[in-house]
């Protein structure tokens, strides 16, 4: 029998408190070095592509949009340089999403959170907003001091705050503005936007994206990565012991001492760690963590702590990369006096690369070989068949022709079904009555009503298949579809 416990006797453990943790504002210090330069470069590239791509022109001929990348929602078309996709071809995006996801996994298995640290929009815009903040309000210490100050604000401080938020809002507004340019002809829309002639929906979207950019990059920052983003959790499940992550090499760093103490101990021939506990890695961290505590979910692996530590190591005359891209295997190997090994090629990376290659290959193949002429046939349901006065049987079909090319086509329609059957297209007086010829406009679907008549003596007893062939007279391209010919 269980012992009855009086709940009042249960005392909570000392460390149990509210589950809510208030945010500690992060004041990343400026830093220079290899990874900072990589980040600046990637930021310039990514933002450059995002802001200016809508203005890139691409000649598709008269009457077609001349914007290289355009999502034309009213006309249901997606343009990407030489590719034009119709709504029924959105499955290409599925392929694109698979490639994107597996590329993320591949990056992760090679170099950890490369996406988070360098490429993610949240990181890029937050980095930009921090740069603005630093430029106006000063570096880490100054900003901390200003925020902590309880003195009444002076005009100078107020103007700083106003200026910072104005520039943030300007960047955010430009971000929202660039977004809508992907959905309409950019130069035209810019003109309409500044003269207030643009559709309301454009202003609404600019407003939404201005707000999200301003809030996410200006206020929420690392909280988005820590609390909102699912990737840190997924990433942790997908990593392995060989993946290189931004790592504090504790084999080299411990025990931490001051510069002076380290020199003294070294002079005595004692083993001393390289870490001098200067906290520079913590000061520069945009998520406010201490990398020396080991791999952490909050760490976006931007590599700025590597730069900070390298600068210190250079100053005190110790080897660089006390913090670097590394893994536990190599730390242990070095502790045992063995040389580190890096295994980029392993089962995981091979499988990921193979998936990317396979999906990419299939996409390129299907895109390159897709037909720009297509036909869909729908049999009339009511009535399925009509008996004519001479006893012949007529079936009616709705034929939808898709001309995805940038030019009009002259096509001929053949129906291969009941013996001696004839084909007629309603509303078309073709010069060749047995083989209707029709002009179908470029970049459009045309719907025709097609009648197939089987003479009385050739009436099929039961339903038989009919093959419809649509032939481009000029190019000889054929598109086919199959339906049934039914007798009443």
């Amino acid at each position: 029998m269980n012992k009855t416990v009086n709940p009042n006797e249960l005392k909570p453990a000392d460390d149990v408190g509210p589950l809510y943790a208030a945010r500690k504002k992060v004041y990343p210090q400026s830093v220079s070095g290899t990874f900072r330069r990589i980040k600046w470069g990637l930021m310039a590239f990514c933002l450059g592509v995002y802001y200016f791509l809508p203005f890139v022109r691409w000649n598709r001929g008269l009457g077609a949009p001349s914007q290289a990348v355009l999502i034309d929602l009213p006309n249901s078309r997606f343009y990407f340089f030489f590719i034009e996709l119709w709504p029924q071809e959105v499955y290409y995006f599925t392929g694109l999403l698979i490639v994107a996801a597996v590329a993320l996994f591949l990056m992760n298995s090679i170099g950890g959170r490369i996406w988070c640290g360098y490429l993610c929009p949240q990181t890029v815009w937050t980095d930009l907003f921090y740069a603005v903040e630093r430029l106006i309000e000063g570096d880490r210490r100054e900003r901390m001091k200003k925020d902590a100050s309880t003195d009444p604000m002076k005009l100078e401080r107020i103007s700083e705050i106003v200026l910072k938020h104005s520039i943030w809002l300007l960047i955010a507004w430009w971000t929202g503005g660039a977004w809508v340019l992907y959905f309409n002809d950019a130069p035209t829309l810019v003109k309409e936007l500044v003269t207030f002639q643009a559709p309301m929906i454009a202003y609404i979207w600019i407003g939404i994206l201005t707000a999200t950019t301003y809030l996410l990059a200006g206020y929420m920052r690392e909280q988005v990565c820590t609390y909102m983003c699912p990737w840190p959790r997924i990433q942790a499940a997908l990593t392995d012991e060989w993946a290189l992550n931004v790592t504090y090499r504790y084999d080299r760093g411990e025990k931490r001492t001051s510069v002076k103490k380290a020199a003294e101990l070294r002079a005595l021939g004692q083993q001393v760690g390289d870490c001098v506990d200067c906290y520079q890695c913590v000061a520069v961290c945009p998520t406010g963590i201490d990398i020396r505590n080991g791999p952490q979910m909050e760490c976006i692996q931007c590599g700025l702590c590597i730069d900070a530590c390298d600068n210190v190591m250079t100053k005190i005359g110790r080897p660089k990369r006390l913090i670097g891209y590394d893994n536990d295997i190599n730390i242990h190997r070095r502790q045992e006096g063995k040389a580190p090994i890096y295994r980029i090629v392993r089962a995981r990376t091979i499988v990921y690369s193979a998936i990317i290659a396979a999906v990419g290959g299939i996409m390129i193949y299907t895109l390159a070989t897709r037909s720009l002429l297509d036909v869909n046939v729908l049999h009339d349901r009511n009535p399925v068949a009509v008996k004519l006065s001479d006893g012949s049987i007529r079936n009616a079909y709705t034929v939808r022709l898709l001309n995805k090319s940038g030019y009009d086509r002259v096509i001929a329609i053949d129906a291969e079904g009941p013996v001696n059957s004839t084909v007629h297209v309603v509303g078309v007086d073709s010069v060749t009555p047995d083989r209707p010829m029709i002009v179908i406009p470029r970049d459009a679907t045309s719907e025709l009503r097609l009648l197939v008549t089987a003479p009385a003596e050739n009436n099929p007893e039961k339903s038989i298949p009919v093959h419809f062939h649509v032939t481009d007279i000029g190019l000889g391209i054929v598109a086919s579809a199959t339906d049934n010919f039914v007798s009443p």
């Binding site: 909570p12 009509v386 009616a396």
Partner: protein
Amino acid sequence: MTDHSSDIDSVSGKSTTGHEWDGIKELNTPLPRWWVITFYLTIVWAIGYWIVYPAWPLISSNTAGVFGYSSRADVAVELANLEKIRGDKMAALGTASLADIEKDPALLALARAKGKTVFGDNCAPCHGTGATGSKGYPNLNDDEWLWGGTLDQIMQTIQFGVRSGHAKTHEGQMLAFGKDGVLKGDEIVTVANYVRSLSGLSTRTGYDAAKGQKIFAENCAACHGDAGKGNQELGAPNLTDKIWLYGSDEASLIETISQGRGGVMPAWEGRLDPATIKAMAVYVHSLGGGK
């Protein structure tokens, strides 16, 4: 009531409500201020709503509200807008000739779409949703036309109807040769078999073909023609083909000849606007049987 504010929960530091279940106490967590303010604002909002929008039921109506809003008026506005949007296209339907409508893919699609809807509302009760008809109601998909199957003839039939009472309606009917005593019973049987023979159907054994032909020539040929090919001027059907409005078996034919036939189709002029009637004509013509 006891004051529980002094009962402080050790973990959260908050006061409790004093409610306790098996030692578990309920924290006193008042509604957030913003929530309470929002709640009161919704009440204020609701009062404003009563005043400006229709809200309170009266005996036979309701309060109109100072905005004078009504959802019925909204519908009227929407319908007016729809007419405006369709205006150009429908105007094109009204001005283009029937043949031009059928040749222009965009106009044909519009006429077919409009025609199909209007057909479903007005014609389907007799002709069926697929325009396949039934006994006494012609199938409009086939190529047999009582009053002609060209675009113009179809339009005329829709406009003025058949035996509809309209001044321009199609007249002429199948007389009741038996009921009116013009033909005797055996003569009707004979001519019914003769009519069957015209389209190659089997005849009763011992039937006198020569007599049948004579009766036909004297009584039927005036409308149906000497060869029985019919006459669209009079709405007399072709008796030599495979399509029979009232059935081709002997019994049906005897009934037709004895009792006469004269189905009615209403005139649609005045009920449907001219553009709609044109769309209807094109739709029926495009079903497949149009000449």
